[in-house]
């Protein structure tokens, strides 16, 4: 028995598993984060398109879902096409979503009233071809519902993001229940980037990849979405401008 598995055999087996899972032989497309540390941990080098992803907040964020919503908005901002955002009660502040690079013209909100209707609208949106991303804020996501959503996403090739937002802090354990989603993230807020002057710097998140089909879980410390919806990894050297050439004046004689 060889100590190292044969690469060709492994990839052939992976292809076979994929064809068994997917039913049809389509190429897996991904949406990269553009951050090497994160993309290298995800199979295919990015967030899978045509799949369901789950995001929850950590700590108090499990209830308010502020960071999770902005994380989802950042992903949706980097897709092409309109975005459907299903909520049961609206409390998003649209200017913040626009600051994550998701223009208000692109987002259509559905205020569905209860979780059941939200899931129905979510599935309807995922089945529709041509949307960039479909985001839904739900408290509970049963296994059956998540499998339906995953299948719907596979048929249309859209990206589905379920923001898990519980009503009370004590319900946060529900996020541990298994679902059919491809990846599962937890976003927790961290103290912002220190500035040399008083003020609040760019927000930082503790980003946990709790579950990833075909990959391993991982933790990242990232800087929150910029105006184009991109994350960044904070530079190890504190207080150093990343672009030193800007503002530098040189005399040549």
């Amino acid at each position: 028995m060889p100590a190292q598995p044969d690469r060709a055999v492994v990839s052939a087996l992976q292809d076979r598993v994929r064809s068994l899972e997917g039913g049809r032989n389509h190429e897996r497309r991904v949406l990269p984060f553009g951050v090497r540390d994160i993309d290298s941990r995800l199979p295919g080098g990015g967030l899978a398109l045509g799949a369901l992803h789950e995001v929850a907040g950590g700590g108090n964020g499990a209830v308010d879902g502020a960071a999770a919503a902005l994380f989802a908005a950042g992903i949706a901002a980097r897709t092409v096409g309109k975005v459907l955002w299903c909520v049961s009660q609206q409390d998003l502040f649209a200017p913040a979503i626009a600051q994550a690079g998701l223009s208000p013209d692109r987002v259509i909100y559905v205020e569905a009233g209860d979780d059941k209707s939200v899931l129905a609208c979510f599935e309807e949106g995922l089945r529709h071809v041509g949307l960039g991303a479909v985001v839904a804020e739900v408290a509970r996501l049963p296994m059956t519902a998540s499998r339906r959503l995953q299948l719907a996403a596979e048929t249309s090739g859209g990206i589905g993001i379920a923001i898990r937002r519980c009503r009370r802090q004590s319900d946060a354990t529900d996020f541990g229940q298994p679902t059919a989603s491809v990846t599962r993230w937890r976003v927790s807020v961290m103290p912002s980037k220190p500035l040399p002057v008083p003020g609040v710097g760019r927000a930082r998140w503790q980003l946990e990849l709790i579950r990833c089909r075909g990959g391993e879980s991982a933790d990242f410390e990232v800087e929150a979405c910029d105006a184009k919806g991109r994350l960044a990894v904070p530079s190890a050297v504190v207080n150093r401008s990343s672009e030193k050439e800007i503002g530098r004046r040189i005399i040549a004689a």
Partner: protein
């Protein structure tokens, strides 16, 4: 025509000229409907007398019914001589409930110069009686409460002929309740079957189908069934067939449907209706059939459906147009069918986009526009970071802060004390005096604060920190940052 002079309309009742209608001033001058015209003229000097034109009244009522058909429900009929009857089953949700619908109806009629009263009840007879004899602009009879309400109403409320009413009055009956307490058989023997039928119709015991009005120019297809159908699959199949033939008719006329009404006449002659609307006119049979099929579960077919009628109750011209070629850029995917599906499911008001509004006050800077509204193109000013979640109303917090313009050193929100590690601000927002006088001096100073754990909040102080006239100087938490 001077508005304060009493006005009556007179017409012939057999050989006599009698008053058929009187306005408020005439009623105040103790004129009554049904009195001889000569007597009325003798009682009120300067009375304006006009000939009644019942045919024109009926035509006007029909126009009103068509308006109701467009606006409220697919089942609307004229209730001669002076009323409309609308079956609002299932469509009251679209107008925000029964009370909101009635208020909307009466106020819209009022602004068109029509003094109207409206009532909702379980049966046509009860709604007719309550609207005419309760002396209130709007009344709602709760489901199952008809018997309690109509007992107090006078006999003409039952839509009986005047001969029967007079005969009953001779016998000492005044109210509907008096009749309900009596055995039916002797009354039927004396006054015929009409009395019992009207009583049962008012109580909802006997069904009274509404024959909905149909506009002449509307494109409509119908299909009747020899054997009544009831199964959901069968209904879906025939919806598909009806939609296909409707779409080919629409195509022949160059029209696209913006709203479809599907009326189903049941075995017992009652009518079930579903209505779907689309954001843009269209005649794609598959898409329209899908919208109708989504609503099949709302149909109660009873003992079976005998006749299905599909009408494009709102159609707009739709001509073929050339689409831009995609040589340069990928055209944006069409999602209007998704908007239609969701809009018919959760209500069109629940489907929206946010658009910027020129206001510095955060809760006023956002407006909802229809999902299909034209693209605005601009967003909010990007000077300051904005919180992801905005509380619906700012929550008061206890804060310790230096005046006038320092952020708090610590604050307590929902029972938890947080120490402020970093803060940004103040961002001053002035009240909008052009909206409310009370905001003339009002000021809010917003700060973004971060606590030890890294949680970031949007808090503000009401007032500028110096003058109490600008605000109470109390602190509020308004939003949560990511």
């Amino acid at each position: 025509m001077p508005p304060d002079r009493p006005l009556v309309l007179v017409g012939r009742d057999g050989q006599r000229r009698v008053v058929l209608a009187a306005d408020m001033n005439a009623l105040a001058a103790s004129l009554r409907v049904g009195m001889p015209a000569t007597k009325a003229q003798a009682l009120v000097p300067g009375l304006m007398v006009q000939d009644a034109r019942p045919e024109e009244d009926a035509e006007a009522l029909e126009r009103l019914a068509l308006w109701g058909l467009r606006r409220y429900s697919p089942i609307v009929a004229v209730d001669l001589p002076d009323g409309l009857v609308i079956d609002i089953t299932g469509s009251e949700q679209l107008h925000g409930g029964e009370q909101a619908l009635l208020t909307d109806l009466v106020s819209r009629l009022g602004s068109a110069g029509i003094a109207a009263r409206a009532a909702v009840a379980d049966s046509w007879g009860a709604a007719h009686a309550v609207a005419r004899y309760m002396r209130r602009a709007t009344s709602i009879v709760p489901p199952g409460g008809v018997a309690n309400v109509i007992t107090e109403l006078p006999l003409p409320a039952l839509r009986l002929s005047s001969g029967v009413v007079d005969g009953l009055r001779v016998l000492g009956f005044e109210r509907v309740g008096d009749l309900l307490a009596q055995p039916r058989a002797p009354l039927t023997l004396r006054f015929g079957p009409e009395l019992g039928r009207r009583l049962d119709q008012a109580l909802g015991v006997l069904s009274e189908p509404i024959d909905p009005i149909r506009p002449a120019e509307v494109v409509e297809v119908r299909r009747s069934f020899g054997e009544p159908i009831a199964a959901a699959e069968t209904i879906a199949k025939y919806i598909g067939k009806l939609v296909t033939s409707l779409c080919s008719e629409l195509e022949g006329k160059g029209l696209g449907a913006k709203r479809l009404d599907l009326l189903m006449v049941l075995v017992d002659n009652s009518v079930e209706a579903i209505r779907v609307s689309t954001a843009l006119p269209g005649r794609d049979a598959k898409r329209l059939a899908r919208l109708l099929r989504d609503k099949i579960e709302k149909i109660d077919p009873g003992f079976g459906i005998e006749l299905m009628r599909l009408a494009a109750s709102w159609a707009e011209p739709l001509s073929p147009k050339q689409t831009l070629s995609s040589l340069i850029e990928q055209p944006e995917a069409d999602i209007s069918d998704l908007i239609d599906t969701l809009g018919n499911r959760v209500g069109t008001d629940q489907l929206y986009r946010f658009a910027p509004l020129a206001s510095d006050v955060p809760e006023r800077s956002v407006q909802r526009v229809a999902a299909t509204a034209p693209v605005v193109g601009n967003a909010w000013p990007d000077h300051w970071p904005r919180p992801t979640r905005l509380l619906s109303s700012p929550e008061p917090i206890d804060a310790v802060a230096l005046l006038p313009d320092h952020p708090p050193a610590s604050f307590t929100w929902r029972g938890i004390r947080r120490r402020v590690r970093r803060a940004d601000g103040p961002e001053r927002v002035f009240g909008e005096w052009w909206k409310r006088d009370a905001e003339l001096a009002a000021v809010r100073d917003y700060f973004q604060v971060e606590d030890d754990a890294g949680e970031r909040f949007w808090i503000y102080r009401a007032g500028d920190g110096e003058n109490l006239s600008t605000g109470s100087h109390r602190w509020f938490l308004h939003g949560i940052f990511a």
